[in-house]
């Protein structure tokens, strides 16, 4: 366990040793800010029957952050070590493959979580001013928790896939492109699901499993759908398991 923490700490620190971490956080803060601006503009218009967080999820910027951040955060995790050769020093130290994969994912996830902190400030601002105006319930703990749960679940899903692509190649660029391709196809699928005519009940049930936008809307409303939670958790673990197999593959390849 202590080795896991030692590794996680180094991985996390490596984001901040290099410029990458700061660039990512800067870009995300900018996008969150832009999103916030759009939100404020939206609030200035007619009253809407939805929580602020749900509106936030409807903005274009939010999805851009989700789509772009995961490949950028995870692309270096294995690919950089493989190309610079440090993978060899790492794997010849007395550490298990599982510890390495878990630590890399944990560090990427923690970084991802830190990256979303500015949003909390935005939400706090909105909540502060709207509540002051005497309008109760615009923002409550339930919706904020639901929002963050949704962000973390979707994030974990994409980050796990990013780890997998990074483990598959020596090139950070290839890893990022594969991971981005996956994200885009996932988005396309969610859009497509919206547009197909649903003729049967079981079909709509099935497609709702991959309808990311619909699921996110639910989370933002503060409604935690266990199907979505199970879907994201299980796929995250599946991708991490595959990553572990890829890392182990040097033993039987």
């Amino acid at each position: 366990m202590s080795i896991f923490w030692v590794l996680t700490r180094r991985e996390l620190a490596s984001y901040f040793f290099s410029l990458t971490g700061y660039v990512i956080i800067g870009a995300i803060t900018f996008l969150t800010g832009a999103s916030f601006l759009q939100l404020i503009n939206g609030l200035g218009n007619d009253a809407l029957p939805m929580p602020v967080t749900q509106m936030f999820f409807g903005t274009f910027y939010f999805w851009m952050i989700v789509l772009l951040s995961a490949p950028v955060v995870t692309m270096r995790s294995f690919a950089l070590e493989k190309s610079s050769g440090t993978f060899e020093t790492l794997m010849t130290a007395p550490v298990g493959d599982l510890e390495v994969v878990a630590a890399k994912f944990a560090a990427a996830f923690l970084f991802y979580a830190v990256m979303w902190l500015p949003l909390l400030a935005c939400l706090f601002l909105v909540g502060h001013f709207t509540n002051q105006a005497g309008v109760a319930g615009v923002l409550d703990a339930g919706t904020v928790t639901g929002t963050y749960l949704g962000i973390f679940l979707v994030g974990g899903y994409f980050l796990a896939f990013g780890c997998l692509t990074s483990a598959l190649t020596r090139s950070q660029m290839v890893a990022a492109m594969m991971s981005l391709g996956f994200g885009v196809s996932q988005f396309a699928l969610a859009w497509w699901v919206k547009s197909i005519p649903v003729s049967d009940h079981w079909q709509s049930e099935m497609w709702s499993c991959v309808d990311m936008f619909g699921q996110m809307n639910n989370f933002a409303r503060g409604a935690v759908d266990t199907r979505a939670v199970i879907f994201y958790l299980s796929t995250t673990f599946l991708f991490l398991f595959l990553t572990l197999r890829v890392v182990e593959s040097r033993r039987w390849k």
Partner: protein, 315 residues
């Protein structure tokens, strides 16, 4: 310390290491010598537990490096070829991280890092960022990393590659000082290095171990046919005649030099030293003898001799 039995490693369609066996006892410094592509790095990667063997067994400190991989790795300090490091970390920080990774406790890792930094003369640069260090320092950081958990076995893949002569000397001294306490396995294709540092040499070529002996023994094996060079001032005809009377000369080659001097290159029959008879010959005739040497076969000759037949076979 190291026991290798019938180790074979195949990459897709190519056999990098072909059925080699050797053992190394505790405290030895063994050099793995061979040209590029001989299978040295592959052997080391298998030994360090990074890759499994295609067949055969490798045991380090009595532990199988594949089945008890993590446990075996605790006994091994490995520095790969090109010495990869995290360039963004500081020296002390990196060594501390590696020590903790290798299972040392917080306090113990601090002690060990201080010790190895002194041992590898890194104390002056402990706060510097690795990426900004010179190659010699980086190499020493890699060495310090390999030593930080006090491994029984230190495996160094081309530790002096790309260093300037001064740095090479200091790294060699450091490696030499490891003998006795640690078992050391070094790979190199630089011959003098092995002669200087190692108690035993394994010559590898085309994935096989062709010779395994001390550098001195390998030299002695070759010394029988050593050529003797003598520079003598004498008339050429008399010299020719005199040398021909010597019983043990197999081949002679006399060339004129400056003034009256002639250079005689003589190859004796197996196991005979021609020097005493040459000096006696000069003294007997009253000739001036200004040089008399026996060419010492360097490992280079042995290396060339050992590896030549196979390469010709291939062609």
């Amino acid at each position: 310390m190291i026991e290798v039995f019938n180790l074979t490693k195949r990459y897709a369609g190519r056999t990098a290491v072909d059925d080699i066996s050797f053992t190394v006892t505790r405290g030895e410094i063994v050099g793995l010598l061979g040209p590029n592509g001989a299978g040295k790095s592959t052997t080391m990667r298998v030994l360090s537990g990074f890759m499994p063997a295609s067949s055969g067994t490798v045991r380090v400190a009595g532990l199988d490096v594949f089945h008890d991989s993590v446990e075996a790795r605790r006994h091994i300090g490995y520095m790969p070829e090109n010495n990869p490091l995290y360039p963004e970390m500081r020296v002390r920080e990196y060594l501390k991280f590696r020590a903790r990774l290798k299972g040392l406790g917080w306090r113990r890792s601090r002690e060990r890092v201080t010790t190895v930094m002194e041992q590898c003369s890194l104390t002056d640069v402990s706060r510097r960022i690795i990426g900004q260090l010179s190659k010699g320092y980086r190499q020493r950081v890699g060495l310090a990393d390999a030593l930080v958990h006090e491994p029984d076995l230190v495996i160094l893949d081309e530790p002096t590659i790309g260093l300037d002569p001064h740095q090479i000397r200091s790294v060699r001294t450091l490696i030499k000082s490891l003998g006795g306490r640690h078992t050391v396995l070094i790979s190199t294709h630089i011959l003098p290095e092995v002669e200087m540092m190692c108690g035993r040499v394994l010559i590898m070529f085309n994935g096989r171990v062709l010779a395994s002996d001390t550098p001195e023994n390998l030299q002695r094996r070759m010394a029988g046919g050593s050529q003797v060079i003598a520079e003598i001032a004498a008339p050429i005809e008399a010299l020719n005649a005199a040398v021909e009377t010597l019983p043990d000369v197999e081949q002679m080659d006399i060339t004129p030099m400056d003034g009256d001097f002639h250079r005689c290159a003589l190859t004796p029959r197996e196991g005979i030293d021609l020097r005493p008879s040459m000096s006696a010959l000069a003294a007997h005739n009253g000739w001036i003898l200004r040089e008399l040497t026996r060419s010492r076969h360097s490992l280079e000759d042995i290396y060339v001799q050992v590896t030549r037949p196979r390469s010709e076979e291939q062609e």
